[in-house]
């Protein structure tokens, strides 16, 4: 039994929001998502890690925004019309926004169709994934949000 199937009972389904970073599709478990907002002005915060883009105002709350691309070692974000900020609500880190290139759709995956990724120390991206889901639209890399959001030391 692999880890993912332990967490997600067999026979049940999990919903993911499919986002794009470059050409690749990634999935974010819907239960962590608070909101999806359009790109807006991000106020830069000086003297912090590169991947922390700054803070935005979301209905009166000040929320930090980070770039998944920089965190995962991809090229820098290019802001387009389809860029979005996904607001995540995590138990440990609280509310935080992540920038994605595009939000595509919501998919429902049966847990049997999620496979764990082999840990590969050479592939930096793999450390941020909790599994790979097979859907009609192709393969979706499922993001391990805790790893993505985790502060780098």
């Amino acid at each position: 039994m692999n880890e993912v199937e332990e967490l997600r009972p067999v026979g049940e389904t999990t919903q993911f929001i499919v986002i794009k970073l470059g050409e690749e599709q990634y999935g974010i478990d819907i239960k962590y998502i608070d909101n999806i907002v359009r790109m807006q002005h991000i106020t830069r915060v000086p003297k912090v890690d590169d991947y922390l883009k700054g803070v935005i105002n979301l209905r009166g709350e000040v929320i930090p925004v980070m770039s998944i691309r920089i965190k995962m070692g991809l090229e820098r974000d290019v802001e387009t019309k389809s860029s979005r900020i996904i607001i995540l609500k995590l138990e440990q880190q609280g509310t935080i926004g992540v920038i994605v290139d595009e939000v595509k759709e919501v998919v429902t995956l049966e847990n049997e169709r999620i496979e764990k990724v082999a840990y590969d120390s050479k592939d930096e991206k793999a450390n941020f994934l909790s599994g790979v889901g097979k859907s009609d639209g192709g393969l979706i890399s499922l993001l391990d949000l805790n790893a993505v959001v985790l502060e780098s030391v």
Binding site: T43, K47, G54, G94, I96
Partner: protein
Amino acid sequence: MDVSQYLEIFLDETNEHLQNLNTQILSLEQDPENMDTINEIFRAAHSLKGMAGTMGYKRMQTLTHDMENVFSEVRNGTIKVKADMIDVLFQCLDALEEYNTNIRESSDEGTNDNNALIKRLNDIMTGGFGSGSNAPAAESAPAQKAETSSLQGGFAGIRFNESQRNVLSEAIKMGKNVYGLTVKVQESCILKAARAFLVFKAVEDTSEIIVSEPSSQDIEDEKFELQFSLVIVSEAELNEVLAAAKAVSEIEDVTGGVLKLEDVTGGEAPAETPQEPVVEVPVQEPAAPAEAPVAAVPAEAAKTAAPVAAAAPAAKKPGTNKPVVNRTVRVDIEKLDTLMNLVSELIIAKNSLVSASAMSGNSSQAVNEQIEYLESVTTSLHESVMKVRMVPIESTVNKFPRMVRDLQKKLGKKMELYMSGEETELDRTVVDQIGDPLMHLLRNSADHGLESAAVRKERGKPEVGSIFLDAYQDGNNVVIEVRDDGNGIDVKSVKNKAIEKGIITPEQGEAMSEKEIINLLFNAGFSTAKVVSDVSGRGVGLDVVKSMIESLSGEVEVKSKLGEGSTWTIRLPLTLAIIQALMVEIGDEKYAIALGSIQTIEDILPSDVKLVQAKEVIQLRDLVIPLIRLNEILDIPSKKQPGDNLVVVVVKKGDKLAGLVVDELIGQQEIVIKSLGKYISKCKIISGATVLGDGEVALILDANALI
């Protein structure tokens, strides 16, 4: 009866009473003959006992009961107040405190019976009992009589309506007993309605209540003074009914009589027995309830005055004087936080409106007037909400005299604590957190500051050392000073210690000013006490003090003169949530600087900037002020040309000044401070963020961290 709904009140009131007891016993120690103090202590112990009994905390009740007994003897003059007795009493208070903590945590008082303490209390009792055993009886007898006479008016004055008369006369005709009862609740009783309810229950076991005066609804709402009357139909003997009612605790007295047929039918309108509140002054409790309405209005003021024992004893028990119930409301602090947040949102919305109206350019006179009106309303609303959250620091500092007394015994030094400005108000959250740092500082003064009596004598100082705790408001800040007339800080020994501990090198030590060396005390792991004592000297104190105060956006400073004493000054902002700030522009980013830290704003010619030790400084009215170029620190390209004049915002931290170079000034604005969250905690120079009128986020620069 389910009492859990009263738990919150019980805990609060118990705290108040314990605090009161602490203060009073302390002053009793100074002045063992003071009757007012003794009475006050007796009353507080008595109320505690009653409350504990109501809530079913038996151990607490037993302990307070025995304490009360001791005081009763003291009051009667059969026992004299002695030092060891005071010690025992303080131990009792500690034990009660422990019960209270247990109850707060688990709603159970715990299992500690404190038998040793109870035994010592009893020893004190028996020690001085013999001669005066008659006295209490003699005193209470007339009191009893006086009350009884006044109470007779109670049930006899009840007017019956038609149907009640019918029921009663019917019952009498059927041979049942009709009794009138007048129940008098103890003046110190907190939960009168609950008491009355218990009496009702006790009576209803054997009888049927036909009439109650005031009505049962009013009794439930506590709309009665100290007594109420009942007319009941019963099959039991009068004595049984009386005994059942009396068995309820905190009931001072129950009187009753048999009503006959003519009482019921003929007593249609007893002309002159008004059921007005009985202004009775029971002999036992000289609290003069006649003054209650007057005393109740300044309930807050009364609390502040409480430590000053002698004055106005009537005003001293907020909560027992009835009108207070109507005038104050206990509010969950979370609800106030919500309110505060909503006010913040409102202010942001108001700011948006202001900037929108300025942007559109064609705003009419009417719109502007309305915006100005809105502005004044939101400002007053903000002020009121802030005021609601303000509490006097008294609640925190009141425990210090007791602590200093204990320290005195522990350290074997003579000292006295003088406090002033306990009424100074601060935000509730700040008051809650300021206790620990202050305690550290006081302990520090007592342990490290003050010399032993012998040394003091040698130096020509009074044997008893003095520690002062002064609080006062200074503009938008509250200043709390802890001062002692002890030895002061030995700069040399601090320096040696710092070198020894590797905090600084000997060369650095040479170059440092006295002030800088003293500030080393706030370093983690620094303690000059040669022996680690129980009181202080673990070396965690002062750096904790500093970080705690800084977490409250405050600052702490120390001034000291060797041989004469030291002064620790804590400066705290009045409010944490909304501040006045100066908005500035650097590059194309906007930042806010708290107005409180700004001294002046200067326009400086580039040629006036001098270099000292390769650092830029300016000279301003004889002061040399280092320049901090914010665009470099914040990594923003400046919009200014090298030849342009510099806009310098001079900020102050303690008595240090620094000039912050900005590109443009935008203006003053009321801003709502929002936390950046723990996710972005690395940036030390930013203390928070705020949402501007146009919805954008601006960061707040922490001038303290920049200097």
